[in-house]
Subunit: 152 residues, 2 copies
DNA sequence: CTACAACCTCAAGCGTGGTTGAGGTAAAGA
DNA sequence: TCTTTACCTCAACCACGCTTGAGGTTGTAG
């Protein structure tokens, strides 16, 4: 059993589609070298990188950011403990921020149950801006709600 | 000051772009009626609905799902306490699930710091499937990693 | 040595969540 | 009344994260 993996093998082991692997390669997330016949061959460390990629995408982190994080991890061989630590820490923080925000919203939503107030001054639902407004994907306008004097 | 809001007023008060309001209307998330001159006018309850929409999108909930949740809330007048409770509860659960998952991943990532193991059997990073695999947007293949005997 | 599976590239397409712009109409203030 | 601002529709476009398909090549099992 060769040390090298074909794209099909990587797909199977990672649970990703071959097309996704090609895509990730174009985006610089993973790397391969080629056989004489121009077919991809992967070092086994690609599976680690893909695990990281998947974790990121699961968390809704844009691929570009995942790529950036991964750029700190050397290719072709096992990342050093230090490399790994840096990356984990970065992601941990990211995750943590999201969790804090979501928890706050959840709790506020909880407090809202049955109230239906949505008053501008007190209702958290009406004042989401403070919380998230920086997450989200796609071309989304950075919103800044005008000073709002609306009373329910 | 009229009871009716123009699209510009709604945009300003909600912090959303006019184009987004048109878009949401096409998607059935909000409704308007028209003046004799074919301009949109909104009941004030649209602001509540938009607050809900924004909350949902912040949380990464697809618009279609937000729309579904909103369909339980009557249009044109203040939702009843019961309507509101049902919706809040639904979202609370959704949020809660996401928080639990993310927390688990965070903690596991925490445990990974410095380890770099990524062993198939024990490393949580290599076994993400169990956790999330149902979130995410866009046409994404429902993955099911093959039985994987890979040893690092 | 042949057949079939697996691989290659490149272009186009899809779903989500919108924005941008052209070309034209409505409404509100001086 | 006039002018300016806000609004209208419709079509096209953007970014992201891939998939699909066409048309052709490689590699391996029998």
């Amino acid at each position: 059993m060769s040390r090298e993996l074909t794209v099909g093998q990587v797909a199977e082991r990672s649970g990703l589609a071959v097309s996704a692997l090609h895509f990730y390669e174009r985006k610089g997330l993973i790397r391969s070298h080629r056989t004489a016949g121009n077919q991809r061959r992967y070092d086994r460390d690609v599976l680690r990188r893909l695990a990281i990629v998947r974790m990121g995408t699961e968390l809704g982190i844009p691929l570009a950011e995942v790529a950036e994080a991964l750029s700190q991890v050397p290719v072709g061989h096992t990342p050093s403990a230090e490399d790994w630590r840096r990356m984990s820490e970065l992601w941990h923080d990211k995750l943590n921020r999201r969790i804090v925000l979501m928890t706050r919203m959840r709790d506020e939503l909880n407090g809202c149950i049955g109230c239906g107030c949505l008053s501008t001054t007190s209702c958290p639902l009406m004042n989401i801006d403070d919380h998230l407004r920086s997450e989200g994907s796609g071309p989304r306008r950075l919103m800044r709600a005008g000073e709002d004097t609306y009373q329910s």
